[in-house]
Amino acid sequence: MIRIVEGPIDRNAVIEEASSSKAGAIVTFDGVVRDHARGKKVTHLYYEAYSEMAEKEMARIREETIKRWSLEGMAMVHRTGRLEIGDSSVFIAISSSHRTEAFEACRFAIDSLKTSVPIWKKEHYEDGEIWIEGYGA
């Protein structure tokens, strides 16, 4: 499952999608909106995606990750639009025979997503807003 969604992410559905009877481990990554950045109080975030391309890139990352770590399952969902503090912006679930592969693969998947999937976030503060662009943001 690869998806860009506009509403809340159903974490359980993502985990369910990645599950397999052959798996002994499921590792998840949940990216959530925090209340501060760059020394300022964040009120909310806004995510914008180039949706058609983002889904293609996510599918490519999924294929690569599954192959490299011989995974049993993998699902990845990113949310767009306005997100409040504590909301999930991205959720990844990975299942594999053993935990080592699942941990490594999950790290690789989120790092790859952050560098190549065309999605941008705008941070809103009490006194303004700014697009965060570039790796490491």
């Binding site: 293609k56 999930s88 912006s89 952050k114 065309p118 790796y135």
Partner: protein, 83 residues
């Protein structure tokens, strides 16, 4: 005719998310398209060195040639995901 799509700060700069441009001649490259857009919005030029480009939703290079009907995207480095 090609369709140029813009995102994030670039969209704000140009004030539009889509721009349609006529193709001047055979062999037009992504860079030519960007330069044409730059004439309409000179401030775009200072983004040139950091921009990522895609044609028909695939990452590509500045010298790739484009043909009528292509969708060309210019965008800043991405910042999706969580921390």
């Amino acid at each position: 005719m090609v369709k140029v799509v813009l995102f994030a700060s670039l969209k704000d700069l140009v004030g539009r998310s889509e721009v349609e441009l006529d193709l001047a001649e055979e062999g037009t490259t992504v860079r030519d398209v960007f330069n044409t857009l730059g004439k309409q919005c000179p401030e775009l030029k200072r983004y040139e060195s950091i921009l990522l480009i895609a044609v028909n939703q695939e990452y590509t290079e500045w010298e790739q040639t484009v043909t009528s009907g292509d969708e060309i995207a210019f965008f800043p480095p991405v910042s999706g995901g969580g921390s």
